[in-house]
């Protein structure tokens, strides 16, 4: 269990950022995974009082506060209508309702969890991570970086895309053995594989929407996979083209 000596509910982002520059501090978001990490830190900085929970729809994007619960994304009508129900499909299999009422999108993105269902979909949708000091950073770049001491304030998702998510699990509510997310825009189709079991990665970009099985087989052949308790490398490589085909089909259907 995580241990802290001090707890601070930050009153401003400036305060949270300043306190977080000490290596002995840690930001608390949903506290679902963090509490199990066995951390021993001087200070826990809670962002819960900064008004960072909410989904705002602008003309060209959805701007999601970093402390927004996964359940809010799962049930938001506008967000799901815009992206073909992909958020509900991606998030509903995660543990249980109570878990998703507390786990946050910012915590999921910051942690770069290898098993993240959230990151795979956001990566497919070309989301931007808005940080307090750095400003907007493409998730495709942020995802590859090591943990830093900046604070995610928002996630920005451009509109005008259709998305789909498929995953395979050894049992319901468990961490996925493999996640596939696809998004189709005017530029073509972007395909992402997560729970490989490493961090989610873009495995194909600007793919022709009518791509078939041979294309997905080729993508799976060159994608790095690994083995863990949930699935072997060979299993993941075999299943990946199937999930990609399903996502591509779903993207075609919601666009039609």
């Amino acid at each position: 269990m995580a241990r802290y000596k001090d707890y601070v509910a930050a009153q401003s982002l400036e305060e949270a950022y300043a306190l977080n520059q000490k290596k002995s501090a840690v930001i608390v978001a949903g506290n679902m995974w963090l509490r199990m990490c066995g951390l021993n830190r001087q200070m826990a900085i809670d962002l819960c009082r900064l008004g960072l929970d909410g989904i705002e729809e602008t003309q060209d994007a959805f701007v999601i506060g970093s402390m927004t619960a996964l359940r809010a994304l799962e049930t938001d009508a506008a967000l799901n209508a815009a992206f073909g129900g992909a958020f509900a499909a991606a998030l509903a299999p995660i543990v249980g309702t109570q878990f998703r009422n507390t786990a946050t999108v910012g915590g999921s993105v910051y942690a770069r969890f290898g098993f993240s269902d959230v990151s795979a979909l956001l990566l497919a949708l070309d989301a931007q991570v808005v940080c307090f000091k750095r400003g907007a950073v493409p998730l495709s770049l942020y995802q590859k970086e090591p943990w830093d001491r900046d604070i995610i304030t928002h996630i920005r998702i451009p509109k005008g895309q259709r998305a789909a998510v498929c995953s395979v699990r050894t049992s319901a509510t468990d961490i996925a053995a493999l996640v596939c997310a696809a998004a189709r825009s005017q530029a073509g189709m972007r395909m992402v594989l997560g729970a490989r079991p490493a961090r989610a990665m873009i495995v194909a970009d600007a793919l022709a929407p009518e791509s078939g099985a041979d294309v997905f087989e080729a993508i799976a052949a060159r994608t790095p996979f690994g083995s863990n308790l949930r699935a072997s490398e060979a299993y993941r490589r075999k299943v990946a083209p199937v999930l990609m085909a399903r996502c591509a089909q779903a993207c075609r259907e919601v666009t039609a």
Binding site: M32, A44, G96, Q98
Partner: protein, 153 residues
Amino acid sequence: MNVTLTLNGRQVTAAVEADDSLYTLLRALGMHSVKCGCETTNCGLCTVHMDGKAVLSCSVPAARCDGHAVTTLEGMQEEAKRLGECLAGEGAEQCGFCAPGLMMNVFALAKENPHATEAEIDAYLAGNLCRCSGYVSQRRAVKRYLESMEVQP
């Protein structure tokens, strides 16, 4: 540090440590319906309502509850009696250890989706594990409870 919260409709002030969970606080305040099962956010035993939403109290920092409303099964006795009758009537309970967490999540479901289908019940309660009674009888009981709510005056 001290936190002041509204617990089951009553304002309470209590001292907490920086790394205490809401679960620890509630047990210290005598809310013994709140059980700790897995401590890995998987089992749903420690479910309580925070500002009307079902949360896992083992993962909510106690200090975060300052100024918020928390409800446990102790604060929902009338609803618990009705749901308890449905669970017993459908043979949906054996040891009963998971029942408080299950009940709190059912109350959240009833509020959010009072006409839930069986599939919606299954999906909503997926985070409540039970090792002995099985889920089919629980589903029947929850369905019966939701139907009984519809005929309430």
